[in-house]
């Protein structure tokens, strides 16, 4: 996926920690130490016009058994430019009540 320019992220709902792959860091120009550490910091990088729609999609993906989360939005790159992103994901593991864990 690195060769294809696809960046990978992972969010741990229990610890509120985010991890980015080196390819995603390169895509947005951030060093490993500059990766937003939690969801709030990540959302701070989203374009204000795209944020409400993205939050709605995230909530929908978390609240149900949605097989796939997909969204297009703008992320602020390290050099200040807005980068349009096609992001896809899914909840990898759910607890007994269907919530992410």
């Amino acid at each position: 996926m690195d060769a294809a320019g696809i960046g990978v992220w992972e969010y741990d709902h229990v610890t509120d920690r985010i991890a980015w792959s080196p390819a995603l860091c390169a895509l947005l120009g951030y060093g490993a130490a500059q990766v937003p550490p939690n969801l709030a910091a990540w959302l701070d990088l989203i374009h204000p016009d795209d944020l409400p729609g993205l939050q709605a999609r995230i909530a929908a993906a978390l609240a149900s058994d949605s097989p796939l989360y997909a969204a297009e939005y703008r992320l602020r790159a390290a050099d200040g430019r807005w980068i349009w992103i096609d992001a896809r994901g899914r909840v990898a593991q759910r607890d007994g009540r269907g919530g992410p864990c």
Binding site: A4, W9, E72, R81, W82, I83, W84, I85, R88
Partner: protein
């Protein structure tokens, strides 16, 4: 995640061109046309404000439509005298940065110019103050390639404005 910026920018440019063509079909008056040109340009990413100048008979320029300017900035740039440095930039007909304080993007051409410049192109057979085409250049490498968007606006420039023109909200 993948970067789809190029596709999105192409979509936006095509959408803007389509909407602008639709406006031309309605044969707008001059004021509406100029506002539409500026609004079309400002829909592109990374642009927070801008203005269009009208060339005066004395060689100076008058700001005829603007978005996002503060009152103080508007007062400063509303009129460009014919012997002003800014008027000279326009006369040169090239895309270039006119920042008052030079910064990295002003001095390194390889970075492109994070600005939009709309230059009138005089038709050879007409008077210097009569412009038949207007070219929009968008330069912001590597997000955008330099693009030209030629529009024929000559037939609309001399159409008188209606008694009440639609007001566009000023950006904050």
């Amino acid at each position: 995640m993948i970067d789809i910026s190029e596709r999105k920018h192409t979509e936006l440019l095509l959408q803007s061109q389509h909407e602008f063509s639709g406006l031309l079909v309605a044969r707008p008056d001059r004021k509406t046309l100029l506002e539409a040109i500026l609004d079309c340009a400002l829909r592109l990413p990374e642009l927070d404000g801008g203005g269009l100048y009208w060339r005066e008979p004395d060689g100076g320029y008058r700001l005829v439509v603007q978005r996002g300017f503060s009152d103080a900035f508007f007062a400063e740039v509303e009129r460009l005298a014919s012997d002003s440095p800014q008027a000279e930039i326009v006369r040169q007909g090239r895309l270039q940065c006119s920042c008052r304080d030079a910064s990295a993007h002003c001095t390194d051409p390889s970075l492109g110019s994070p600005a939009i410049c709309m230059m009138p192109r005089p038709r050879a057979s007409t008077l210097p103050t009569t412009y038949q085409r207007l070219s929009m250049k968008i330069g912001h490498e590597p997000s955008y390639r330099l693009q030209h968007y030629p529009i024929s606006i000559g037939p609309y420039l001399n159409k008188p404005p209606p008694r009440s023109s639609p007001k566009y909200p000023e950006r904050g």
